[in-house]
Amino acid sequence: VATALGSVSQIDRELARLRVDPESNEPYQRTSVMTHIAWVPGEWVEAAEDVLAGLAERHPSRTIVLVPDREADDALEASVQVDCFPSGQGRQVCTETIRLRVCGARAGVPASIVQPLLLPDLPVFLRWRGLPPFGERPFEELVDVVDRLIVDSTEWPGLPKPYERFADVFDRAVVSDIAWARTSRWRPQLASLWPGIGGVRRIKVTGTEAQACLLVGWLRSRLGRRVELEHEPSDRLVGVEVDGESAPFPPGDPPDPADLLSDELDRFSRDRIYEEAVRAA
């Protein structure tokens, strides 16, 4: 059910109304394990909705989708949705999605809009689509209200340069990078080449630019030596060569985007190995 709303109090009232089963007049059981904020500029809306659809059932949460539109007149346009999923015998749990179009000047101060909507005492995850505008107010504000920032550096142009600015965020929020998660099947394969890989001089990565940068950064930082990178563009990570020798292909299917984001939402601790790989990329 979706209704257009213009203020936080209207959103709260509408959510309370939707939480009651119209047939039985009994409240649904709300289950939340986190607040999940997604910052989704217009060009990412479609991709973001696909991922969220696969995610809601696995991570019952309050999801706040922020779609900024700086060019429009100053306004807040919200819609809310309550989705119920069967759980146990004859029981249902429901999750909530709040979609907010933040227009004009409001797009510059998103923290004041999301803070009243955060579920108390639960972790807050922020999924930032595209390259974050480091140093700009919306990004800096939101980083300070969340526990974990999730990005996908595959979406970033001009790598590896943006990693330098990204590293500055590490001491302010715990970060996850889905591009890094996409290399997780390959890293044990490369580790299995030890001790031979200890003297590697050059790797060739057939995959995205982010995967190539992160894998070479990982090897440089872990081995403490200079490693050259040759990058063969591909939209998926399909091969790694170590000094001209192909690394063994990992078993199993690569996970889909919703699985990758879902896995990141299960993690709370800082990944220092990733941070060092970013710094060395």
């Binding site: 696995r58 019952p60 146990g88 001790p195």
Partner: protein
Amino acid sequence: VTETAQTQRQQENPLLEGLRLQRTPEPCALVIFGASGDLTRRKLFPALYSLALRRLLPQNFGVVGVARSEESDDEFRERMKHAVQEFGRDEFRDETWEWLAGGMRYVATDFADEPGQDRVVEALNELDRERGTAGNRVYYLAVPPAAIAMLVHAIGKRRSTDGWTRLIIEKPFGHDLASARELNQQVLEHFDEHEVFRIDHYLGKETVQNLLALRFANGIFEPVWNRQFVDHVQITVAESIGIEGRAAFYEEAGAIRDVFQNHMLQLVALTAMEPPIDFTADSVRNEKVKVLRALHTPGPKHIVRGQYGRGYIEGEEVPGYREEEGVGPDSMTETYVAAKLFVDNWRWADTPFYVRSGKRLARRETTIAIEFKRAPHPPFEVTEDDGLRPNVLVCHIQPDEGVSLEFAAKVPGQGMTLRTVHMDFLYGGAFRTGIPEAYERLLLDCLLGDAKMFTRSDEVEEQWSLVDAVVAFWKRDRPSFPNYAAGTWGPLAADELLRRDGRTWRRR
């Protein structure tokens, strides 16, 4: 040893740091005795398939099915394929099945004679050669109790000298203390305790393990988890099904051997145990066995047995126990047991644990309810009609897995009217991933050599010594059976058991 080796490898190889590596079992072959039985079809193969799908089985793995009925390898594979498709919890993938089926062999023998044993050894040697199972063996004894001693002896004589050997033994382990002791002795003649995995599938249930998380990973429960704050504990293991054609087994076992001796007493032990110093097999089992040793029931008056008569389940009339196929018209086998138990230790002295278990009860439910003492002096006027109840923390083991807390809340409006409300944590609501079947968890634990969730010889013996004491009481009288109708909550005497203490069973 495996964990130490892993840490060592990590120290040498800097690329391993931070990798989330799953512990995978070493290469091995699993031999299932009782391969034509229901357990293999409904539980073991669906569990093996789910493990294979998640790549949790070793790359070098094989299964030898052993049973008396004649069957070829291919027929066995085909039968198990249908079983996985029918009873598995995951989507069926041909490639996963093909991998598993490639390592499957079948040997028709009762394993009592040398030629039969030779053929099993031959199949295992073949798996070593073709699948690289490296001489490591897990023997799963999914057979009737009478066959166990012979199998243990035969396997023990022929155990592989190349790799490790583990033995999984299904319940019931013996039928009284003397037989359990004898069986333990026979097993320990050929195997060390760390090689023996006595299975009680309740311990593989996620929600049973969650009881340990609830108690020992949270600061708020343990301080009140004792006689000072807890009025009493109620544990219910209720089934709405009857004996499902297992009359021969059930006539011998009854409710006390089928459920009370194992699942029920394990739930009591997990509820009452002290915090273990770590989460290793011996630390956890040391604490459980202390509870089992401290358990006693105050006397025959505090134990109730029952047998169901004709009644209604979900609107359908069902026969009484004595009318079930294979059951005699004057059978005195109990299908219900309720008891008041005490754990004689510092934490629980004088705190009753009321336990009940039965077949053909009103609903299927396994719960552990911790009922706390009432507020000493509520400053509100509360009448009986308000239905204000003491706080109860309920662990729902099945169905609707989760935890709920009952507490008093003010009813909105004028005045101070109070009502009991529930705060629910629904397992499937917070964690939307499928809950693994108990057998998946236990099979994998055994392949990894982790015996934490299996019962040790001393636990089994302590459980039997309590059961023997109860059975001894029962020899002195002959109750009038049937004494409860199918579809109800058991005999009236069970209600009386609590009423005498000014308490009642929980109803939902």
